[in-house]
C-alpha cells in the first residue's frame, strides 16, 4: 500500500509538473512573439514632454499686452533638499574621488563631510544671491518631501511594493524647483557661482509677463494650476500634445481662459530608450497669439478719466463716495469692444503679493471686473426701453402728451415721485403745461411719464422688451466673468423672491429700479442697439466670426426714431445730459442719463459661530476666514452672518445713486431721429454711488467721446 501511495504521490507531482511545463510552453513558445514585443516596448522610457510657449495677447493695433518671457528655475536634488542625503553623498563622494577631485587617500566619509559643508554654504549663498531667507528653502524642501512621500504611498498602494520613486533618485526627476521665475540676472549669478555643485541646477522656464497692461488687468485674466475639472472640460482632451496636463498652468480668468485653446501651444515630445538613445523627437510649437478688439490707448485714457471722476466725487471724511466705476466703448457697426474698463484696477505684476490686501478691500473691491460682472440697477437709462416698448405695442403714440403730476398716485405723496418733485418740489408740467411727448420725457427723464407707460405695458411685456434689448442675457464676449444680469420675469421672481408680479413692479422697472439689474457692457450694447436699430452680440476677439443672422434682433424703426430724437435733445437741448455736450461741430452725442437709487454695499459682517455645545459667539470681519482666525485649532461652525457696516454710511432719509450715462456719437449732419451712419461709437459709463448721472458721469462720457472723435481726424 505504501508503494501504491508512493506511486500516486509520484503521479500527482508529475501531473503538476506537466501543468507547469504546459504553461511554460504556452508562454515561451506559443506566445513568445507577443511577449518579446512587450519586452521591447519596455525598453523605452516614459515619454518626456517639452513645454510650448504660450501665445501672446495683443490689442487691436498689435500692441503686446501679455506675453511669455523666458525665466529660470533654480532646482535642487531631492536628497539634498530634504536632508536625506547620506546615500546620495556617498555615491557622489565615490564619483568625485574617481574623477580625481579628491585624493584617493580620503575616505568616503571624509569627503561626504566636506560635501555637507558645501551644501550648507550653498544655502547661505543662494539666500544672499536671491534675497530669499533660508527658512523659505527649508519650507519648500518640506513641501516637496511631503509631495514625494504621497507619490510613494500611492505607488505602494497600487503595487504592494515599497520602493523609491523616480522623484527621489532619477537623475532628471529628482531635481525639484526650489525657486521659480528667477530673472535673468539672478539666474546668471547663481549659475556662475553655484552650478559647479551637482546638486543644484539652473534650468530655463518661462513666465507670463504683462507689458504696461494694468488698465486691462481684469480683462486679461490670469493663469493658474490645471484642475481636474478643467481637464475634464478640455475640448482638446483627445490630443496628446495639446491637452491640459496636471502640473501645468492654464488660463482661469479673463481672456487667458477665453482664448485658452488658441493660446496654448503644442508640446514637444521626446521618446528615448532606457539608455538615452533617442527614438523620436518632435519640437514644441508655440501657441497662437490672440488679437483683441480692445484699443489699449483708449482703455488707458478711459481708466484715467474714470479715476478722476471717482476721486473727485463728493466726499465724506476725505473718502470719495464713489467706490468704483466702469465704462464700455463699442464700435456700433461691428460691435467690437474698443474699451472694457473697470476701476479700480490693480497691478498685474504684484497680484500675488497684493492679493491679501486686494481681497479684503471691501469698499472698493478692486478684483471685481465691473464692466461685465458689475450688476447695477440701470435707472433712467431703462426709460429708453420703456418708450420703445410702449410705442411699439401701441400703448402710446409719438404725439400723445402725458402730464407730470409730481407723484404718481394722488393719495400717496411720498412714493413714486418724479425726481424734479423730489429735488425741487415742482413738476415738468410747470414748464410744459400741455404735457410731455415721448421725446420730451426722454429729454427731461420724467419719472411720472414712464410710470404711466410702465403701468400700461404691464410687467410681462416690459420684461420682454428688456430682453429684446439684450438685458438678462450674455452679450457674447465669451468671458467667464460675464454676468447675464437680471430681467425679473415671473419665473425669476418666484425662484428668487417667492412672489409673483406686484402692482408696483412695472412702475419700478419702467425707470430701471427694483429687481432689474444690468452690467455696463449690456447698457453699452443697448446704446448701440438704439443707434443701429438692431441688437447684436458684441465681439472681443479680432478673428471672431460675425454673428449669425438668427442672433440679430431687429427693432421697430419708428419707435426708435422717437427715442433717438429724445436722446439727441437730452444732450444738445438742455436735457439732463447736457454736461456731455461735445465741443465739436462735426459730431454730436446722443445720450440718456440715469441716477439709479442704490443700496450701500456691505463692508463688514458680524459672523455668528456656534460651538458643539450650542454656545454662540460673534466676530466682526469682512471675510469669514478673518472672522474665524481668532479661534484656535478648534473652530466652531459658522451658522450665519449679518451686515454690520455699509459704505457709504448714510444719514436717516439720505439716499445715494449710481451715476449712469448711456450714449452714442453721430455725425452732426445726421437727420433728427435717424440711425446714424459713419463711425458711430456707443459709450456707457457708471460711477458707483456717484450720484447724478448727468453731472458725474456726463463729463466722463464727454472726455471719452472727444478723445475718440479726435483720433478720427
Amino acid at each position: 500500500m505504501f508503494r501504491r501511495r508512493l506511486t500516486w504521490f509520484w503521479i500527482l507531482l508529475t501531473a503538476l509538473a506537466c501543468a507547469l511545463i504546459a504553461r511554460l510552453v504556452d508562454i515561451q513558445a506559443l506566445h513568445a512573439e507577443e511577449y518579446r514585443d512587450l519586452a521591447a516596448r519596455m525598453l523605452t522610457q516614459p515619454v518626456r514632454y517639452l513645454r510650448a510657449p504660450r501665445g501672446s495677447i495683443l490689442d487691436r493695433n498689435g500692441r503686446v499686452l501679455v506675453s511669455h518671457e523666458p525665466s529660470f528655475d533654480i532646482s535642487v536634488h531631492f536628497a539634498v533638499l530634504t536632508g536625506q542625503s547620506s546615500e546620495y553623498l556617498h555615491a557622489l563622494a565615490r564619483e568625485l574621488r574617481r574623477r580625481g577631485e579628491y585624493p584617493e587617500s580620503m575616505s568616503l566619509d571624509e569627503i561626504a563631510g566636506r560635501l555637507r559643508l558645501q551644501i550648507a554654504a550653498t544655502w547661505q549663498r543662494l539666500s544672499e544671491l536671491t534675497g530669499r531667507p533660508v527658512s523659505e528653502f527649508i519650507e519648500r524642501g518640506e513641501e516637496i518631501r511631503q509631495q514625494v512621500a504621497r507619490i510613494r504611498m500611492a505607488v505602494r498602494r497600487r503595487t504592494g511594493i515599497d520602493q523609491p520613486v523616480a522623484e527621489e533618485s532619477d537623475p532628471l526627476l529628482a531635481m525639484h524647483p526650489l525657486i521659480e521665475d528667477v530673472d535673468h540676472e539672478t539666474a546668471l549669478k547663481v549659475r556662475l557661482e553655484l552650478e559647479a555643485y551637482p546638486w543644484l541646477s539652473v534650468a530655463p522656464g518661462s513666465r507670463r509677463v504683462a507689458h504696461d497692461a494694468d488698465a486691462a488687468v481684469h480683462l486679461l485674466g490670469r493663469l493658474g494650476a490645471v484642475s481636474r475639472e478643467r481637464q475634464q472640460e478640455d475640448p482638446l482632451a483627445g490630443d496628446e500634445l495639446r491637452r491640459l496636463r496636471a502640473g501645468e498652468s492654464c488660463g482661469i480668468t479673463g481672456v487667458e481662459r477665453l482664448a485658452e485653446t488658441t493660446l496654448r501651444g503644442t508640446r514637444g515630445r521626446i521618446v528615448e530608450e532606457l539608455d538615452g538613445t533617442p527614438v523620436e523627437r518632435s519640437e514644441p510649437v508655440a501657441g497662437r497669439d490672440v488679437e483683441l478688439t480692445i484699443d489699449m490707448e483708449l482703455q488707458e485714457f478711459v481708466l484715467a478719466a474714470l479715476r478722476d471722476a471717482v476721486e473727485g466725487t463728493e466726499t465724506t471724511a476725505g473718502v470719495p463716495y464713489a467706490s468704483g466705476a466702469s465704462a464700455v466703448v463699442l464700435d456700433v457697426a461691428t460691435r467690437e469692444v474698443l474699451a472694457l474698463v473697470s476701476y479700480p484696477a490693480y497691478s498685474y505684476e504684484r497680484f500675488d503679493e497684493d492679493y491679501d490686501g486686494l481681497v479684503r478691500d471691501a469698499r472698493r473691491t478692486p478684483l471685481r471686473f465691473r464692466a461685465v460682472s458689475g450688476l447695477y440697477p440701470p435707472g433712467s437709462t431703462c426709460k429708453a426701453i420703456t418708450l420703445v416698448g410702449a410705442l411699439s405695442e401701441g400703448e402710446t403714440t409719438p404725439e400723445e402728451r402725458i402730464h407730470c403730476t409730481g407723484h404718481l398716485l394722488p393719495e400717496l405723496e411720498n412714493q413714486f415721485r418724479c425726481w424734479i418733485y423730489n429735488d425741487y418740489r415742482t413738476t415738468h408740467d410747470a414748464r410744459q403745461p400741455e404735457g410731455q411727448r415721448g421725446e420730451d420725457a426722454i429729454r427731461n427723464s420724467c419719472n411720472i411719464y414712464f410710470y404711466k407707460l410702465g403701468g400700461r405695458l404691464g410687467p410681462e411685456r416690459l420684461c420682454n422688451w428688456f430682453s429684446t434689448f439684450g438685458l438678462g442675457r450674455l452679450q457674447g464676449t465669451g468671458l467667464i466673468e460675464e454676468a447675464p444680469g437680471v430681467v425679473p420675469t415671473e419665473r425669476w421672481l418666484r425662484a428668487n423672491q417667492r412672489r409673483g408680479f406686484e402692482r408696483s413692479d412695472p412702475w419700478n422697472w419702467s425707470i430701471g429700479q427694483g429687481e432689474v439689474a444690468a452690467t455696463p457692457l449690456q447698457i453699452a450694447n443697448v446704446g448701440a442697439t438704439i443707434a443701429s436699430g438692431h441688437w447684436a452680440p458684441v465681439r472681443l476677439l479680432r478673428d471672431a466670426p460675425p454673428a449669425p443672422a438668427d442672433q440679430i434682433v431687429k427693432l421697430p424703426p419708428d419707435a426708435l426714431r422717437v427715442l433717438r430724437t429724445g436722446m439727441w435733445r437730452v444732450v444738445n437741448e438742455n436735457g439732463t445730459g447736457k454736461a456731455a455736450k461735445l465741443k465739436s461741430d462735426r459730431y454730436v452725442l446722443c445720450g440718456k442719463t440715469g441716477s439709479a437709487q442704490a443700496v450701500p454695499t456691505p463692508v463688514r459682517y458680524r459672523y455668528i459661530f456656534e460651538w458643539p455645545d450650542r454656545q454662540r459667539e460673534t466676530r466682526e470681519a469682512y471675510l469669514e476666514e478673518d472672522a474665524a482666525a481668532s479661534f484656535g485649532a478648534e473652530r466652531p461652525r459658522c451658522i450665519g452672518r449679518r451686515t454690520s457696516a455699509r459704505f457709504p454710511e448714510l444719514e436717516e432719509g439720505e439716499s445715494i445713486a449710481h451715476a449712469w450715462y448711456m450714449a452714442y456719437t453721430q455725425p452732426a449732419s445726421t437727420p433728427r431721429g435717424a440711425a446714424p451712419q459713419g463711425p458711430v461709437y456707443a459709450i456707457s459709463t457708471v460711477i458707483e454711488f456717484g450720484g447724478s448721472g448727468g453731472r458725474v458721469a456726463g463729463p466722463v462720457v464727454k472726455k471719452i467721446a472727444e478723445y475718440l472723435l479726435e483720433r478720427e481726424q
Binding site: 505504501f2 511554460l24 513568445a32 565615490r94 532606457l274
Partner: protein
C-alpha cells in the same frame, strides 16, 4: 542481517541528489550575479556603470566585481553545505530524538515573534510591517523556514509507530501539530510560508496511509472556510494577489500597472526568453538600467532563468527538482524504517511543493505568495533550512537499518 550501505547505491544516491542541487545552486548564483551586475543607476545620474577605480583596496574591488548579493549567496551556500554535512554526522535516528524538542524550541521562537507585536522584544526587527526574523548584526534567521524542517521531523516521528491516523480522530494530533505553527506564522504575517506547511502535512499523511476519505473531508472543510478567510482574514494586498491570478488576462491596463504588475512582468520576461533564452546576462530585463521585475533575484528568479535560458532552461530546472524527487522516493522505498520513510517523503514534499508553488506563481497559475525557489533564489534561512533537510534525506539514504520486521506502512487497502 545488517545491510550496510553498498558503495554503489550510496554513490548513485549521493550523486542523484548532489548533482541536481549543485545545478540549481549554480543557476541561482549565475542569475543573481547577472541581475546584480546591472543594478539601477546610482543617484548621480551617471551614464556609465560605476566602475571601481584600480587604486582602491583589493577587497573592495573584489566585492564590487562579484557583487554583494552574489557574495552573500555564496556564503549561505557554503555554510548551507556545511550544515548539510553536519546533519550527516549523527544518524537520523539520533536526530529523530530531537524532533520534539526542536519543534518546541521553534514554536517558542515563533511565539516570541508574535509577542513582539505587543511588547517590543530585542533582536526582532520589523521589516515591511512584518516580524519574521531574529536578527543579530548582519545575520538574520527566519524561524518559520526551520519550522518546515521541524514539522517534517516531528510528523515523521509522531506517525512512525502509530496507526491511529487511520481513524478520523487520530488525525487530530497531526492536524494540531501543524495548525499551531501555521497560526503563529500567519500572525507574523507570512501567508506563503504558512501555506507551505499544509502540503507537508497532507502528503505525509497520505503516504503514511491515512484514509483518503478522511483526508478529503478535512480538505473540503478547509476549502469551505476559504471564502470567509478571503474576505475577513486577508489584507487587501493579499486579496489582490489572489485576484491577480484570476484577472491576469484582463485588458485593463491600470490593473497591469498596479497589482498585476509583477505577474505581467514575470510573464513578459519568460516569454521574451522564448525557446532558448537571450543568453546569460542578456535580455531586456538584465540589460536595462531600471529594475523591470520586482524581486527578480529571489521570488521571481525563475522568470529570470526563463528570460536568459528559455524554455530549455526552465524545463531543465524542473527536471532537476524531478531528479531530487525521484531519488527521494527511491530512498523512501528502499528504507524500511518508518521514521526514515516519512522523513524522506517529508523532505521531498517540503522542497518540491515550494518549487512548484514558486514556479506556478511566476507563470500565473498560483497566487504570489513570496515563496522562494529552493536552492536557487537568493536567501539566507531558506538555503540553510533546505540544505538541512537535504542533509536529513541523505542521512536516511546512508543508513538503512536492519530489516527486522515487516515493511512498515503496509496496511491492507481500505479496511
Amino acid at each position: 542481517m545488517t545491510a550496510p550501505a553498498s558503495p554503489l547505491n550510496l554513490t548513485l544516491l549521493g550523486w542523484g541528489i548532489a548533482l541536481p542541487v549543485a545545478f540549481l545552486a549554480a543557476v541561482g548564483l549565475a542569475c543573481i550575479h547577472a541581475t546584480e551586475a546591472n543594478d539601477p543607476v546610482a543617484p548621480l545620474g551617471l551614464t556609465t556603470t560605476p566602475t571601481v577605480e584600480p587604486q582602491a583596496a583589493v577587497l573592495e574591488r573584489v566585492i564590487q566585481a562579484i557583487g554583494p548579493l552574489t557574495l552573500r549567496q555564496m556564503f549561505y551556500l557554503v555554510t548551507g553545505v556545511l550544515l548539510m554535512l553536519a546533519a550527516l554526522v549523527p544518524s537520523y535516528q539520533k536526530i529523530g530524538r530531537w524532533a520534539y524538542p526542536s519543534y518546541a524550541i521553534l514554536l517558542v521562537l515563533l511565539v516570541l515573534l508574535v509577542v513582539d507585536i505587543y511588547a517590543d522584544l530585542p533582536l526582532i526587527p520589523v521589516r515591511n510591517n512584518a516580524r519574521r526574523w531574529l536578527a543579530w548584526g548582519p545575520l538574520s534567521v527566519q524561524p518559520a523556514e526551520f519550522m518546515k524542517v521541524g514539522l517534517t521531523l516531528t510528523l515523521a516521528r509522531y506517525l512512525r509507530f502509530r496507526s491511529s491516523y487511520r481513524s478520523l480522530r487520530g488525525l487530530l494530533p497531526p492536524l494540531i501539530l501543524t495548525l499551531v505553527p501555521m497560526v503563529l506564522i500567519l500572525r507574523e504575517p507570512d501567508l506563503g510560508m504558512m501555506l507551505m506547511l499544509l502540503p507537508v502535512l497532507f502528503l505525509t499523511l497520505f503516504v503514511a496511509g491515512a484514509r483518503l476519505r478522511h483526508l478529503a473531508l478535512i480538505i473540503l472543510l478547509g476549502c469551505a472556510t476559504l471564502p470567509v478567510f478571503f474576505i475577513y482574514g486577508m489584507k487587501p494586498y493579499q486579496r489582490d494577489r489572489v485576484l491577480t491570478v484570476i484577472k491576469q488576462n484582463t485588458a485593463d491596463e491600470r490593473w497591469h500597472r498596479g497589482p498585476g504588475y509583477q505577474l505581467r512582468q514575470s510573464k513578459i520576461a519568460l516569454g521574451a526568453g522564448g525557446l532558448t533564452g537571450e543568453g546569460w546576462g542578456r535580455g531586456v530585463f538584465l540589460e536595462s538600467r531600471v529594475r523591470l521585475l520586482p524581486e527578480e533575484h529571489n521570488d521571481f528568479i525563475f522568470a529570470i532563468i526563463g528570460h536568459q535560458f528559455g524554455l530549455v532552461g526552465c524545463v531543465l530546472v524542473i527536471l532537476a527538482y524531478g531528479v531530487i524527487v525521484f531519488f527521494g522516493i527511491e530512498v523512501a522505498t528502499a528504507t524500511n524504517d518508518p521514521f526514515g520513510r516519512l522523513l524522506a517523503i517529508g523532505v521531498v514534499v517540503m522542497i518540491v511543493a515550494q518549487a512548484l508553488l514558486n514556479i506556478g506563481m511566476t507563470v500565473g497559475l498560483a497566487p504570489i505568495t513570496g515563496m522562494t525557489l529552493p536552492f536557487v533564489s537568493a536567501g539566507g534561512s531558506s538555503l540553510w533550512a533546505n540544505f538541512l533537510a537535504l542533509g536529513l534525506l541523505v542521512n536516511v539514504a546512508q543508513r538503512r537499518p536492519m530489516l527486522i520486521a515487516n515493511p512498515p506502512f503496509e496496511h491492507a487497502e481500505e479496511e
